[in-house]
Structure formats: structure tokens, C-alpha cells
Amino acid sequence: MDQALQHLVNGTVLGGTYALLGIGLTLIFGVMRVVNFTHGELYTFGAYMAYGLVALLHVDFFLSLVLATMLGLALGALIELVLLRPMRKADIDSVMLVMIGAALVLQNAGLWAWGGVAKLVPTPFAGTPLVFGPVSVLPLRLFVLGVAATLLLVFWLLLERTRAGIAMRATFQDAETASLMGVRVGWVHTATFAIGSGLAAAAGALLGPVFMVSPAMGDLVGLKAFAIVILGGLGNLPGAVIGGFALGYVEEFGGGFVSSEYRDAFGFLLIILVLAIRPQGLVALKERVG
């Protein structure tokens, strides 16, 4: 029972970070129909920005997280303006190829700039865990979970309660009609890609200090983000959150109680099951048309 409780806590912490990863990716796909292969690299970018600011420039840890997210937003906007805007009329395959190329460039630029050796990001949090009965968790992990939850809430409010959010949702539903209604679709695309990128960079800046920062850290994360999005339903925002937690719990309980050897396989087994039974994802009520 104690082990199950610890796995539950671990799965919740892991799921929260997975949700943050998934939501940026699914937002970009939902609004722009762009499969963003740079997502993992933007996560890496955020982690390295946090490392550079905290460890090298000695900027305050919390301010560094904000700055790293802002830099991620800026990089996302740049990618959209330089690479994606000229490809607006291109087919999805061409855009995918461009994004794969951009991901390779970003990863190798990171490698060139930072070297291949993994880095630890210093934090102001105590290294001793908080203990709640039979379970324990580091203060840093709780902080990350709290910030992830706050970011998800802020993002939801942005979508539901602001004019920009309405414009995004309108573009999400029907870009042509939104354009006829006066929505500047081009800027919605830029803002969407920037926000999705900012969320990925925020996830990297938050998780970099929990784990380690290395140029290849985005590879596995990118794969997981796609898994989360597929679980929740492509373009489905609540689905990304639920998919994130589902993947976190399945990996944690499967790895802990069945076999750690197949920990990652449990997540992908879940995806196969979902695709077989509910191909539209866990949350989507019906398949989108058009």
C-alpha cells in the first residue's frame, strides 16, 4: 500500500509535467494544423536558458524561469514568422519536413553552443524531501507541479476569457470564417505558435532543474508529447491534460508493479489500446470533420 501511494504521488507529479508538454503541442496542431517537430527542442531550449541564466549569469532562479519562458515565446514567434508563414499554403507533408529540419538545426545549435555534457541547474530548494506519512516528494517537484497547474489554468483563462482566446478558438474551428469575421489569422498563428513554444520552454525550464540539462533531452520528451496528444485526441486541449496524467500513471504503476524494463512500453501499449478502441482519443467526443 505504501508503495502504491508513493507511485500515486510520483505519477501525479510526472503527469502534471506531461500535461504541460502535451498542451503546447496540441494547441499548435489544433489551431494551425502543424505537426511541431521542434517541440522537444523548444523544451531543451527552455532548459538551457534556465541553466545559462541561473548557473552562468547568476540570475535569480524564479526570474530565470520567467525569462526562459519569454525567450521560448520569442523563439517560437521567430520560427513561425520565418519558416511557417511562407509555408501557409503548403501541404502538411512539406511543413512537416521543414519542422523536422528546424528541429535538427536547433538540436545541433544547442550542441554547438553548450557541448554534449549534461548540466545540473542549481535551485534554491532544499534537497531533502517533504514527508507525508509513507510518501515523500522534493519541494522542487511540488513547485514544478504547482507552476504547471497554474500555467494550465492561466492558459485556459486566456483561451476562454480573452478576445485573443476567442480569436484562437475561432481559428481553431474554422479559419476562413474567422478571417471573414475580422480575425487576423496570420497573427493568431504567430501568437499560437509562440504560446505553444513558450509552454514547451516553460516545461524545459521547470524540469531541467529536476533532472539534468543535455542537448538530446528533447528527443524522448518530444516522443512523449506526441504520445500524450495522441492519447488525448489531436488538437484537444483537455485531452492533452488527461493524456498527460494517464501516461504518467501508467508508466509509474506499470514500471513499479509489473516491470521497470517495460516502463516506456506501458505508455505506448496504452496508446495502441486507445487507438484501437477510441481512435479519436480519450476525450474527443467525435471525430472532427474537415
Binding site: 507529479v13 554534449g116 545540473l120 534537497g127 522534493l138
Partner: protein, 383 residues
């Protein structure tokens, strides 16, 4: 003009090295290491060790009157890339001898290519037993096998207080990790230690909470951790989070140096099986060589703890260059034959090869030395 340290090193390591002006093109030494990817820290350390060995030897006159050139290829912590790196080194760069490839998985992937191209390789790190028992006469390993490491470790069991009664394993899920768990289980069982469960992790995994939560339930007092530097660091940090309260022993010669600048909370002491303990060069089998290597490394301002693995590249280059000198020419087959005659002093100790594997197809295996280093609150000690 040679400075004192260079002369000392060259004199100790390769007494008969020719010290003449360059007469021809450089002699190429091919090396593949994981310079990026999951185990990049270790690969970069080993590569740096090789680079400074080449620098030192070139300052001392190279070999056969020619300078040395190290051609380094990244295997990206990936066996497929390791094979591609060897293809490039042999077919395009025409190297007559190789050094590589850190992980047993990468080395095993390369080995058929050695037979195909008939180029010898000095294996500086990989520990899986079958590297030298599968019948590949182009393999010469200076690193210890997991079995050697386990047996050497088991002779020092009496130094642990409280005594080891039962052990579990947390291993990276590849030839290196599984092989270490198997060989340490055998060696420790022979000493009366009870063997518990083995948990594994993929090389890229960063969240090890499921494995650690499962190990917490075991009544074992010690966990043997076998993986690269990055996962060692992650596992030790996450074990504190999960309050495992068990002794950790890392195997394989890697050291989680990031925990010196960012130490674990007080009361957490970890043990590390190393093949060179740079904090204590005076305790090395040949202190003058160890100190010269350490000084050369520090001149580059590289991370100090990287010395723990950098020596592998350093000793590998000394070995290869001695073989080239003995062969009298930089040709693959002559170097392979000469490797059997190598008998030098390296940072780890004596380097000479004994035959292992099926008769007529033997590989070379060196018998290295082992040290156990403790790490507590960012400070190292020698057990």
C-alpha cells in the same frame, strides 16, 4: 624543448619513443566515443584524455619520427552511429587502428566491422564479458570486464560497515548494465551475500521514480547502480527524494561529478568503483604517470572529476602508440600483432594483454586495478 613533465611522462610511458623531427605525414589513430546523447559526459571525458595523450606524445616527438593525429568520431550514444563512425574512420580516413567505443553495446555493434576491415581496436571502457570471449582477434581491451571488477570489489567487502547482507541492482537496460548485474551477483553470492531484485532503466530515462519506489520495498541494504554519469546523478538524487535509505555502489568506473558542486544532503554517502581516483594520484600504481596525466588535464581547465574516465582515453593512446612503435609501421595487421607485445605503465597500472576466447581467435584482455571512492556532502575519500 620538452618541459620536465612532458619528458617525465614520455619517459615513463614509452621509454624508447623516437624523438626526432617530423619526417612525413601524421600517423592516424581513429577513435569513436559518445560525444553527444545519453552518455555524452563519459565519452567527452575519454576523448579529452586521448587528446592530451596525443599532445604529450607529439611534444615528445610522436612515433616512428612522425606526428600522431587523433581522428575523433561521435557515435551519438547509439550503436548504429558507432558502426557508421567506424565505416568512416576506416574507409575514408584510412586509420590503421581504432579506439572505442565506451558502451559495450556500441563496441559489440562495431566488432563485426573489425573482422571485416581487419583493423584492431583498443577497447578503453566497455565491460561486457563477451567482447573478449566471442572470438574476435582484433579486440584488445584495457578496461576490466564486469567479472574482473566484481571479483576485485568482492575482495574489499570487509571494508564496508555495516556489512553487506543483501543487495539489489539498478541497471541500465543494455549489455553494460545487465552484464554488471549478472557478474556482481555471481561474485557477491560467492561471498555469502544474498542477491535480491534487479530493476532496469532505458539509457535515456530521466525519471527513475518507479524503479526506486519498487526498490524501496526490498529489504536489501545496498543497491548496485550501473549506468552512465548522467543516470548515476539522477538515481542518487531521486533516491534521496524517495528516502530509500540504502547504500549505493556505482560500478563501471564512472563518477557523478555533478554531485561535488551540487551535493546530496548530509548523511548520504555513496560508493563508486573507479579505475583511477584523481583526488589521490599518489595512491595510483605509478604515481608519477598519474600526476603527469592529472597536471596535463588540469592545464586545459577541464572538469576535474572527468579525470576518472579521461585516463581511459589516455591509456588507450599510450597502448596504441606503443604497438605502432613495436610494429615499426602504421599498418593494421602489424599493429594487431604488436599489441600482444605491449607492456607499458599507464595511469591505471600495467598494461599488457592476456589471451581470452576460443583458441586461434583470441582477443586481448588487460588486468586493470580497481579503487573504491566515497562521496559524501561533495567530498571524496578513498575506502
Amino acid at each position: 624543448m620538452l618541459n620536465r613533465r612532458t619528458a617525465l611522462l614520455a619517459g615513463l610511458a614509452l621509454p624508447a619513443l623516437q624523438r626526432t623531427a617530423w619526417a612525413a605525414d601524421p600517423i592516424k589513430i581513429g577513435m569513436t566515443q559518445p560525444l553527444t546523447g545519453a552518455v555524452a559526459a563519459s565519452g567527452n571525458y575519454v576523448a579529452n584524455g586521448a587528446k592530451i595523450a596525443v599532445e604529450v606524445l607529439n611534444r615528445a616527438g610522436g612515433v616512428l619520427g612522425r606526428p600522431l593525429e587523433l581522428i575523433l568520431e561521435d557515435n551519438k550514444s547509439n550503436p548504429r552511429e558507432a558502426v557508421a563512425a567506424v565505416d568512416k574512420l576506416v574507409l575514408r580516413d584510412r586509420v590503421p587502428v581504432l579506439i572505442g567505443a565506451w558502451s559495450s553495446t556500441y563496441t559489440l555493434a562495431i566488432m563485426p566491422k573489425l573482422l571485416e576491415y581487419k583493423v584492431p581496436m583498443v577497447v578503453e571502457t566497455s565491460s561486457a564479458s563477451r567482447i573478449t570471449t566471442s572470438g574476435n582477434p582484433y579486440v584488445f581491451r584495457i578496461a576490466p570486464t564486469s567479472a574482473m571488477e566484481a571479483v576485485a570489489f568482492s575482495t574489499q567487502l570487509g571494508k564496508f560497515t555495516p556489512a553487506m547482507r543483501k543487495v539489489d541492482f539498478l541497471s541500465v537496460n543494455n549489455d553494460f548494465g545487465r552484464g554488471a548485474a549478472e557478474k556482481f551477483s555471481e561474485a557477491l553470492a560467492a561471498k555469502g551475500v544474498t542477491i535480491g531484485r534487479t530493476e532496469t532503466m532505458t539509457p535515456e530515462a530521466t525519471d527513475l521514480s518507479a524503479q526506486l519506489a519498487a526498490l524501496k520495498q526490498s529489504d536489501a541494504d545496498t543497491i548496485f547502480l550501473t549506468t552512465g554519469v548522467e543516470q548515476q546523478t539522477l538515481a542518487l538524487r531521486q533516491a534521496v527524494e524517495q528516502r530509500l535509505g540504502k547504500r549505493f555502489v556505482t560500478t563501471g568506473g564512472s563518477f557523478p561529478d555533478a554531485l561535488i558542486a551540487n551535493p546530496l544532503p548530509a548523511g548520504n554517502t555513496s560508493f563508486h568503483i573507479l579505475f583511477y581516483a584523481p583526488w589521490f594520484p599518489e595512491r595510483a600504481p605509478y604515481p608519477a604517470i598519474a600526476e603527469a596525466y592529472t597536471a596535463e588535464w588540469n592545464k586545459n581547465n577541464w572538469e576535474f572529476a572527468g579525470l576518472t574516465e579521461g585516463f581511459r582515453g589516455y591509456d588507450a593512446v599510450l597502448t596504441v602508440v606503443e604497438a605502432i612503435r613495436l610494429a615499426g609501421k602504421p599498418e593494421a595487421e602489424a599493429i594487431r600483432e604488436a599489441l600482444w607485445k605491449v607492456d607499458i605503465h599507464g595511469v591505471n597500472g600495467d598494461i599488457r594483454f592476456a589471451k581470452e576466447g576460443p583458441a586461434g581467435q583470441e582477443s586481448g584482455q588487460n588486468q586493470p586495478n580497481v579503487a573504491i571512492v566515497t562521496l559524501s556532502e561533495g567530498k571524496t575519500g578513498l575506502l
